[in-house]
């Protein structure tokens, strides 16, 4: 008995310690940043976190007289953890804004909390169209559904790629993108020979690629989540698809800036459509890339990172507009219709859907100064989520 209650006492003391750390001053604005920092999606967490910190390093930690404090928590990519952490950040730590959410289910799980607590949540990574409809308090700075896929379809149809096989990872965003690409491609007069879906977990593309090869298309359109791209690229070359003259077109997730260099020359010439390239030529982007490289051991920022950066930019701008008022409903109102120039280019938050409207670039993988980059060659301005007109 004695030793058990002692253990309980220690546990209790630990809990009290956590509780005490929740107290905060009124002139601080707390931003709860919930990301997968461990597990299979840890690279997402690392990149978003780097983007958030880069923004603070470049823009200071005070806005409208308030000191900004970011509290980072790891949800390991597990939805019930995300939900618990979000709720704790709100009720215990007094977070005024939530941020992060690596995957769609993780974002969806916090929707009920947002409504009850009236706290805005800025999505830095999850992309499924449906998310922003699930709560009035969701605002997105990553990408909306098949935003990046639709311009690829238009471009392909215009450039003589008429017979295409699609290959996507079999989960929410993959299916969104498959639909977005297919609809646009058919409208532009293309033909989809086959739609292949590969499992999200532990993908082995070999059998699927063999099937693709046998149908002899002009090109194969691919979406796989960031991180899986390098495995895909390797197998694409190994299976001889490139030698068979099949062109590879994809969303930018496949040639993720973070991993592109590791893919080697196999990636050269791949055409992708996406909202961000670390090679984007603008002063905003140069400063951003330099800051992320400096603070993170020369890591190259990717599209996840810029999502985190812009989430902070949006939070700062909203606080400036409300003059430091931290009322959640007012903050969301302030965020609606906000426009600014991000490292990726000009972006706007659609006042109606609270979703992002941005330019989508067509890029080709090329060598720049000995490193592989997605080099932008065409721009589709102000693209919205094709799933929510």
């Amino acid at each position: 008995m004695a030793s058990l209650s002692r253990r309980m006492f220690i546990a209790g003391a630990a809990l009290c310690g956590l509780l005490a750390s929740g107290a905060h001053a009124a002139d601080t604005v707390k931003i709860g940043l919930i990301l997968p920092m461990t597990g299979p999606f840890a690279s997402t967490g690392r990149q978003v976190d780097a983007g958030v910190r880069a923004f603070m390093a470049l823009n200071g930690d005070t806005v409208a007289g308030k000191k900004i404090e970011v509290v980072l928590r790891d949800d390991a990519g597990t939805a019930d953890q995300t939900r618990r952490i979000a709720q704790e950040l709100v009720v215990k730590d007094g977070a005024n804004i939530l941020m992060g959410f690596g995957l769609t289910p993780l974002a969806l799980s916090v929707a009920p909390v947002l409504g009850q607590a009236k706290v805005p949540a800025i999505i830095t990574s999850a992309t499924t169209s449906v998310i922003t409809q699930k709560s009035e308090y969701f605002v997105r700075t990553s990408m909306a559904g098949p935003q990046s896929a639709v311009p690829v379809a238009t471009w392909a149809a215009k450039n003589g790629l008429k017979r295409v096989v699609t290959l996507v990872s079999d989960y929410g965003p993959g299916i969104d993108i498959e639909k977005g690409f297919t609809d646009q491609f058919k409208k532009d007069g293309g033909e989809i020979l086959e739609a292949v879906r590969v499992p999200l977990q532990n993908p082995d593309f070999a059998p699927f690629l063999q099937r693709v090869r046998d149908t002899k298309p002009d090109a194969v359109f691919v979406f796989v989540p960031s991180g899986v791209g390098s495995i895909f690229m390797k197998q694409f070359v190994e299976r001889g698809l490139r030698d068979a003259g099949i062109k590879l077109i994809a969303t930018g997730d496949v040639t993720d800036d973070d991993l592109l260099n590791g893919m080697g020359d196999a990636a050269l010439g791949v055409i992708t459509g996406h909202f961000y390239s670390a090679n984007h030529d603008s002063p905003e982007n140069k400063a951003f890339v330099a800051q992320v490289r400096k603070a993170n051991n020369n890591m190259r920022p990717n599209f996840m990172s810029v999502g985190g950066y812009d989430a902070m930019a949006l939070a700062y701008a909203a606080l400036k507009k409300t003059n430091g008022d931290i009322d959640g409903t007012k903050l969301v109102e302030a965020m609606k219709g906000m426009s600014w120039v991000s490292p990726r280019g000009p972006i706007t938050i659609d006042p109606k859907t609270r979703d992002i409207v941005q330019d989508i670039y067509m890029r080709e993988v090329k060598k720049v100064d000995g490193e592989l980059y997605n080099v932008e060659f065409a721009t589709f301005p102000k693209v919205r989520d094709p799933n929510t007109p």
């Binding site: 008995m1 030793s3 058990l4 209650s5 253990r7 309980m8 546990a11 209790g12 630990a14 809990l15 009290c16 956590l18 509780l19 929740g22 990301l35 920092m37 461990t38 840890a42 690392r46 980072l72 928590r73 790891d74 597990t78 939805a79 019930d80 939900r83 618990r84 709720q87 704790e88 709100v90 009720v91 215990k92 769609t104 289910p105 969806l108 799980s109 929707a111 009920p112 909390v113 009850q116 607590a117 499924t128 449906v130 699930k134 079999d170 989960y171 929410g172 999200l200």
Partner: protein, 343 residues
């Protein structure tokens, strides 16, 4: 001759089933926690749910000797059932809990025949296989389960029409705690009954148990079903307190975590799951706040250290038992009924 023997046996079982002050204290603390730590209710709910899940695993691992690497199958089915039930039938939590228990129990009954065959290794593989099948099924059946995006929009009515689920999570915690307490009482009753004792006999040596007239298969089917029922309720509690379900409830890491929790707390005395869940969840919560990127390293290190040092030396109940057994009088007294039992 048989009358005194059955009396001795009954007295032995009663003595084993008696409440200890340690147990009572634990429950008082658990109840007090609802009021002492108002900002930690969500963490406490998580502990209660994990404890219930581990308790369900203890019933088959600790009492029937069936190792399972796929216990999340029942947890997940319970979680999905609770979610679907509240979305499509009724948002009343208690009915949802009961329905989830029944569905998970039925699945347990159906799959229990698989674990009757083969040895430990075969069982590990079959249980693992069943949970993988269900996980992929939940992922594919998007029309029912929402696929990888999960089920959202679950709203629950107040429990019994009066206690509403609040943002702070106290209702949720008390609800989980009450369910855990009631199910633990039932589990105590089960394991301290002649049925429970016969399970232990099967665990030690199932062939010998069969020769003594204990039918192992039937008993394993029963306890496996009960265990599945418990796990289903734990899953239902998770859905009801978080109002969200994703395929993650069926993921392998859940089966692995719960086995870890059980091993951490100790197998085969019902409270192992609870102790393990408290330690595991607090460690994880604390470390992941201190170091969001590297907490898994520390938790791994601590777990290895715990196993190497030996849990027996750290565990209060075991430590007390160890001290007691060294006191000659009490040790002798304890040995009497056992020696008479084994004629």
């Amino acid at each position: 001759m048989s009358a005194p023997h059955s009396q001795i046996a009954a007295a032995f079982l009663r003595r084993k089933a008696a409440w200890t002050p340690l147990e009572a204290g634990l429950w008082c603390l658990a109840l007090a926690a609802a009021f002492l730590f108002p900002s930690q209710q969500l963490l406490l709910s998580e502990i209660a749910i994990l404890a219930l899940f581990a308790l369900s695993l203890d019933l088959i691992v600790g009492y029937a000797g069936i190792l399972s690497l796929g216990h999340a199958a029942f947890f997940g089915v319970g979680a999905y059932t609770a979610g679907l039930f509240s979305l499509h039938v009724s948002a009343e939590p208690l009915t949802g809990l009961a329905v989830s228990a029944v569905v998970a129990g039925l699945l347990g009954l159906a799959t229990s025949f698989l674990v009757l065959r083969g040895s430990d290794l075969t069982r590990l593989m079959t249980t693992f296989g069943v949970s993988m099948l269900l996980a992929e099924g939940a992922n594919q059946a998007a029309w029912l389960t929402g696929g990888a995006d999960g089920l959202s929009g679950i709203l629950l009515e107040p429990i019994a029409g009066t206690f509403e689920f609040d943002l702070w999570g106290r209702t949720g915690y008390l609800y989980c705690l009450a369910v855990l307490f009631i199910l633990l009482l039932v589990a105590r009753r089960i394991v301290h009954s002649p049925f429970g004792l016969s399970l232990k006999a099967i665990k030690r040596n199932s062939r010998r148990a069969a020769m003594l007239g204990i039918a192992p298969n039937r008993r394993i089917v029963i306890i496996y079903t009960i265990s599945a029922l418990y796990a289903g309720m734990a899953g239902a509690l998770l859905t009801q307190t978080t109002s969200f379900v994703s395929p993650d409830v069926l993921a392998f890491h859940r089966s692995a975590d719960v086995l870890l929790v059980l091993v951490l707390g100790g197998v085969g005395y019902l409270y192992g799951g609870i102790v393990g869940a408290v330690i595991f969840t607090l460690l994880r919560a604390w470390l992941s706040v201190v170091t969001p990127q590297y907490w898994m390293f520390w938790i791994g290190l601590i777990l290895v250290a715990l196993v190497v040092i030996g849990r027996d030396r750290l565990h209060p109940a075991r430590a007390i038992a160890l001290v007691r057994s060294r006191l000659p009088g009490r040790a002798g007294e304890k040995a009497v009924p056992l020696s008479e039992d084994s004629r």
